[in-house]
């Protein structure tokens, strides 16, 4: 076991983790942040995407011990005081949520994009979510929602 300190959604944690534990398991099983989903466990589907120090990352491919000293944002960290983040609001308005399983990962990839590039082109949006598979929507409404959120 190893003791690591890190921040999730602005809150500081100091936790003993097993060296083989994935960040995804740390978030879901230790912290109870089950918004982050597991769809493939090999970094292909993007359902487990979280933001680490501003970068969208597949949390199934990151060991828990690698987040020592880092700042993580999960889908639970979007929005404040019960108010949805503008991305979440736009996803709802554009019917961009169907089964919802890819949605947390989509939101985090889109959030990471907008944090770096507040006014992305459609191509940049599509590239930013290229690693997030969705089987329900065909992506059109998701892309439209991100575009709309970028407008503010």
């Amino acid at each position: 076991m190893m003791l690591i300190q890190f921040k999730v959604n602005g809150k500081s944690y100091s936790i003993d983790v097993c060296p083989t534990m994935r960040l995804l398991d740390l978030l879901r099983d230790e912290l109870g942040l089950t918004g982050t989903k597991e769809g493939c466990a090999e970094g292909e589907c993007g359902a487990c995407t979280v933001i680490i120090d501003g970068e969208a990352v597949n949390s199934c491919l990151v060991l828990a011990s690698q987040v020592r000293g880092k700042e993580i944002i999960t889908v639970e960290g979007l929005g404040e005081d019960g108010k949805l983040d503008i991305l979440q609001q736009k996803f709802l308005e554009h019917s961009a949520v169907e089964c919802g399983f890819c949605t947390p990962g989509m939101l985090m990839s889109a959030k990471a994009l907008l944090m770096k590039n507040p006014h992305p082109t459609e191509e940049e949006i599509r590239l930013a979510i290229a690693g997030n598979l969705c089987r329900c929507s065909g992506y059109s409404q998701i892309v439209a929602a991100v575009k709309d959120a970028a407008k503010g």
């Binding site: 769809g39 090999e42 290229a130 997030n132 089987r135 065909g138 059109s140």
Partner: protein, 662 residues
């Protein structure tokens, strides 16, 4: 074991890590037997029986109509199309939890499309009364038919019953791909007799479906192959023979469209070949043969209802600028070849004509005027619960947010066969509408008593009952419901069972534009229009999303998705790394055009959308590729290898590719 991926053992432990450790300690010795991996091999080899009764799981023959007197001016066109086994690709892996308590009650939480079916299987299997098995549908991260049948509920329940403790079973992606169900591979040979002026006379088809190692739903699925084409085309003589065949491969099962994507792909690829032989525009040829509103489907002897497929094709062709693009494309001789394709599709609305399709609901108004709809819904991501709220809200003229809707729970909600088979909006939605109408009548009855006015003088408006022709505010639902309980010793709740009276067709016509790179064989879908006749649209965003998502699935079906089995019987692409689904940069912007009307029995005229949206996509893409290349490719998926190996029907078409590969 009957196939690679079959069950060997189950281990239960106090943690996931311990269970995996235990699994790694199991040492299995296999004696390898020759595997029958194709339907041809399984049918030829009568000695090696995959199932005790042999390798033929089911056979059917459908023969409808009369053979027309063969006029001289007919042509005969023959084709063969192979569609492949695919993975449903729901992002959420399969999971379930079972618990067996000290009272002898089994409770199972599962993201299924049909709790009552799972309950029946569990109760019969374990000898429990139906009342002692509680199956609860939990939020579901996509299904597409992959969570329609009972899957892991029995083994999880067995473990829970043995241990008297809750047990959870969660599959990884590899297990989802190789050990749940796949869309079955189907081979279809079609022969049509068509007049030179373009009228279909005969349609003779023969289909062979690869069931995998167990039968499951394969016999029904195979028979369903014969129930689609006559909903789409007027055919004087239709004959369809077919069979489901066991092979030593992963089990097939229900998949979005249930045989329609398979048979319609074969049909629509064939229809393009007919049009080409006749030197007719594919749209013009289809327009001569599509069904008209209220035609009778001669196979099921059912009306196709207010079928607007002709309107879909005409308006779609105009919106897509078909004529212009069809004549402009398909002529490129350079590296990049542009082509356009069209395909039509038909699907159903529920089970009527097959078996009794009923559903039961309870709707109650609380004392604050809010509503609870108790229904056996299984929302798998299609917006089912929202649709029911919209329907009830429309009848009672109330904010949908004031309505809470349940999902299925065998202990608490009424019977329903399950949310599949394109029966949900059409039948379950119609039940919600009738139930709300009965409650509305009851509410008006209460107010009629309170105001001492005939019901006919009253109407509902914005959460109130008002007297027609007055500008008074009226009585709010809250007041009415409170009075009912406190003064009239009754409550405002109704129970209703609805039986579907019809099963019309839902229709979609889809147009694709592709660019094929003749050097690499890669195809890109660059434009797409999906036209739908799904009756009246209840939730536009969700309906458009259903079409756009269906196109994502259909493009994969046409171009890249396949659960491949090697010659040893081992699945080749057992992960998302190797099983490619179309991602955002590779998806075209899918436009959706809806031909709305209210001619059928669904709520406010709504019809099914989730399955029909996925029916003609692959054929539209395949036809576009064939248009681009001047080929007749019909073995799905059209991977770069197949495109590069295509017979050079256009002289010199593949020179570039050969150089590239050489």
């Amino acid at each position: 074991m009957k196939y690679v991926g079959d069950r060997v053992a189950a281990v239960v432990a106090t943690s996931f890590a311990a269970a995996m450790e235990a699994v790694s300690l199991i040492d299995v010795e296999y004696e390898e037997l020759p595997a029958l991996l194709t339907t041809e091999a399984a049918l030829e080899n009568k000695e090696a029986k995959i199932q005790p009764r042999g390798n033929l799981a089911h056979e059917y023959e459908v023969d409808a109509g009369e053979v027309p007197s063969m006029a001289d001016d007919c042509i005969i066109v023959e084709s063969e199309t192979q569609t492949q086994r695919t993975h449903h690709g729901a992002l959420e892996p399969h999971v379930c939890i079972a618990d067996y308590d000290s009272s002898g009650k089994l409770t199972v939480w599962t993201p299924t499309q049909g709790v009552f079916g799972v309950r029946t299987v569990l109760a019969e299997l374990f000898g429990l009364s139906y009342s002692k098995v509680r199956v609860i549908k939990i939020p579901t991260g996509g299904s597409f038919g992959g969570k329609q049948e009972y899957l892991f509920e029995p083994v999880t329940s067995f473990m829970a019953m043995e241990l008297k403790r809750p047990v959870k079973l969660l599959l990884d992606r590899e297990e989802c791909i190789i050990h749940t169900r796949v869309r079955p591979a189907v081979n279809t040979k079609i022969k049509t007799v068509v007049t030179k002026s373009g009228k279909l006379q005969e349609f003779i088809a023969d289909s062979t479906l690869d069931a995998g190692a167990f039968s499951g739903s394969a016999p029904d699925y195979a028979r369903s192959l014969s129930l689609k084409v006559t909903k789409l085309y007027r055919i004087p003589h239709y004959k369809h023979t077919g069979r489901a065949v066991y092979t030593n491969t992963v089990k097939s099962g229900g998949a979005r469209g249930w045989a329609a994507p398979e048979i319609i792909t074969a049909t629509e690829v064939h229809m393009d070949q007919v049009a080409r032989r006749l030197k007719m525009d594919p749209v013009e040829f289809r327009l001569q043969n599509l069904v008209h509103p209220y035609d009778m489907d001669p196979v099921l002897n059912l009306s196709v209802g207010d079928a607007r497929v002709i309107e879909c094709l005409e308006k779609g062709a105009e919106a897509f600028r078909w004529k212009e693009r069809f004549s402009d494309c398909g002529k490129d001789q350079g590296r990049y070849r542009r082509g356009v394709g069209v395909a039509c599709g038909a699907h159903k609305n529920g089970m009527y004509g097959g078996f009794v399709d009923c559903t039961s609901m309870v709707l109650k108004m609380n004392e604050d005027g809010s509503l609870n709809l108790n229904a056996s819904l299984h929302d798998v991501g299609c917006g089912t619960t929202t649709a029911m709220k919209i329907i009830v809200a429309e009848v009672l003229d109330i904010d949908p947010d004031l309505i809470t809707v349940t999902e299925a729970d065998t202990e608490l909600t009424g019977y329903d066969p399950g949310c599949y088979g394109s029966r949900v909006t059409y039948n379950v939605g119609a039940c919600a509408k009738e139930t709300a109408e009965i409650l509305k009548d009851k509410i008006l009855g209460r107010v009629s008593f309170i105001l001492q006015k005939p019901k006919e003088y009253l109407k509902v408006e914005n959460g109130h009952v008002v007297t027609i022709g007055t500008d008074q505010r009226g009585i709010s639902y809250k007041e009415i419901a409170e009075k009912a309980v406190q003064e009239n010793y009754t409550d405002l709740s109704v129970a209703h069972t609805y039986y579907s009276p019809s099963n019309p067709g839902s229709y979609s016509v889809q147009f694709a534009e592709v660019i094929v790179d003749s050097a690499t064989g890669l195809t890109r879908v660059t434009d797409f229009l999906a036209v739908g006749d799904v009756g009246r649209v209840l939730n536009r965003g969700m309906v458009e999303g259903q079409f756009q998502g269906a196109v994502q699935m259909g493009i994969g079906y046409a171009l890249c998705e396949e659960v491949k089995i090697d010659d040893q019987g081992k699945p080749v692409n057992n992960s998302f790394k190797k099983y490619h689904m179309v991602n955002a940069p590779d998806m075209p912007d899918v436009k959706v055009l809806l031909i709305e009307h209210e001619g059928d029995d669904g709520p406010f005229g709504a019809k099914s959308v989730g399955e029909i949206s996925a029916v003609p996509t692959a054929a539209a893409v395949i036809n576009a590729v064939n248009h681009a290349l001047g080929t007749s490719l019909s073995e799905l998926p059209l991977t770069p290898e197949k495109i590069l190996d295509a017979p050079g029907t256009v002289p010199g078409a593949f020179l570039g590719s050969k150089m590239h590969r050489g």
